[in-house]
Symmetry: C2
Subunit: 333 residues, 2 copies
């Protein structure tokens, strides 16, 4: 059977993960969350996450500047540490480059990588450089640490929890659309492009949310909430309800959607790469948490739905009525 | 300037490492040793190492079985933990695969990866699977820990130290030669092939050596002692003397070298990928350490030279006379 048949999650669930269950010690979390978790003392745990970016699968060399690619390669990993509520400690960069590439490209890549490293005070402590015949290949790993008491697992969601996000949805997908359709770059489309090419990971938000007892489960929005919320629902054995009219979308996305006839709901739900956090919060503590969040970050913590007992799966609602087809859901707006 | 001009070490030393010096905290070791080192308590340190393997650069798909590639991908990283004297804790595997590959290939890859994981009791705790348009790309990371008092850095070598290796040199390079020249596979060439395709990392040896006070610097032999010893010499500011007649070489390598007219000295010094440990030991403690090593592992700790004050660089000696050309050095045997 071809690998394309069983896909990424199939490979992980059927071929890779089952083999290692016996080797994983008690209190250690392996495959199946944003990061692995290894306790290093009574109080603290060590986190690790890693992501591979392959040219022509994850990016096109002539559609992303080296600076942006360097920035983004680190950002997507910091976002996974953020999703656990961890403090990133160090990063590791492996890169395979075709021999005929210019040193200047790598300098620009490192400039982007370093700008984010400095902002988050995360040193690059190691890695590997090698040659690759055709494609640029990048693998970044990030280690972090956190208080064991504050760990927010995908499986920690509870019935009744309010589902929230820490920022707008769909901007990154809109930016990708601008690239793919070669749309003109102006101030509006530029904002979407920035969200796609240099997404800023919500590390401070993750750290802050993890310290709140009312916050139960967290994950970062890398594949789109339609897919990422499913991970929480599966791990927690719950059902999700998402209110389409509550999905936060930027004015830029709404404007471009009108001009180019995009369905912003599809971009917000399935587009992915927003790298905001998706969080579930105890209903009694939502108001207070959202108010403190606003005070602390001067931004909203957006409620977009809630969780219930039931078969894992998402119901999309508009005016409290179920919407089965997002295309239709949008036409109803 | 093209990347091929400045090479891997040039990229690391000129483009990557300098940028991060300021971000690296006290007592933390970043780029420049086999692993990064982060203290996690008064007594213990956290280690991390990572290696990228790209098809057509590091391996040819039709010349290495999936099982062997899985085994080797992990082995080369465990070897870096061994070189610090650390205890490996967990591994992380990122793999990019062309879509038309068979799931069975991945199953075999994981079987090799898991066999070594089980032998060393190191669980796979995470990673990434993705598609790659053309080439198979593998990135493995391994975390480990160790007593801070036992860390063996490349910079810890001292004048007068005896230089030793924990196993034969050149077998892996001989195995590569068998593959490249498509030589017949028999019991003898098979032993060399095994050393090349499924090298066994010297983790126990590293742990044991690190506990010995007389052991100063360690590194694993990945590029060949001619290159790897240079790293120790540069980091410690010393000069090295290697006695060619002391280099341990297997009977298999010697036999194949005679048949196919290889220069075994070149293979032993420059071939690389032996994944034995290269160790420097205080001269007063060498005899006792070597005797205990023999008793513990039922194998030799081979002395192959010594260190001196002076400009970093290696002098090769035969019958205590300098040999400038290894080709000639071999003809003198």
């Amino acid at each position: 059977m071809k690998i394309s048949k069983i896909g990424e999650f199939g490979l992980i669930e059927q071929v890779i993960a089952p083999e290692f269950k016996e080797l994983v010690k008690k209190h250690v979390t392996g495959i199946g969350d944003d990061c692995s978790i290894i306790p290093i003392s009574q109080e603290k745990a060590h986190l690790f996450t890693t992501d591979m970016l392959v040219e022509n699968t994850h990016f096109l060399r002539n559609k992303i500047a080296a600076y942006q690619l360097g920035f983004k390669s680190l950002a997507v990993n910091l976002s996974d540490i953020a999703a656990m509520g961890g403090q990133p400690l160090a990063s590791y960069l492996s890169i395979g480059l075709p021999k005929d590439m210019e040193v200047e490209w790598m300098e620009e890549f490192m400039r982007g990588y370093k700008d984010l490293s400095e902002d988050e005070e995360v040193p690059l402590l190691g890695g590997d450089t090698t040659s690759s015949r055709d494609a640029i290949v990048i693998n970044v790993g990030v280690t972090g640490e956190m208080a064991r008491a504050n760990i927010k697992r995908r499986s920690d969601a509870r019935p009744g929890d309010i589902v929230c996000v820490t920022g707008n949805l769909g901007d990154s997908a809109g930016g990708l659309q601008v690239i793919l359709d070669e749309l003109p770059e102006d101030q509006v489309s530029g904002r979407l492009l920035d969200q796609h090419l240099t997404p800023y990971p919500h590390v401070s938000e993750g750290l802050w949310l993890a310290r709140n007892q009312g916050v139960h489960a967290m994950i970062d929005v890398s594949d789109g909430i339609g897919s990422d919320l499913q991970h929480i629902l599966k791990a927690s054995g719950l059902k999700g309800h998402i209110n389409l009219e509550q999905l936060p979308m930027s004015l830029e996305l709404q404007q471009q959607a009108r001009i180019y006839n995009w369905n912003p709901l599809e971009l917000a739900i399935s587009g992915g790469e927003d790298y905001v956090l998706l969080v579930t919060i105890h209903p009694d503590q939502f108001d207070q948490t959202a108010a403190s969040f606003r005070k602390h970050f001067n931004r909203e913590l957006y409620p977009i739905g809630h969780l219930d007992r039931g078969e894992p799966g998402i119901t999309y609602l508009k005016d409290q009525k179920e919407v089965r087809d997002l295309k239709e859901g949008y036409q109803h707006f």
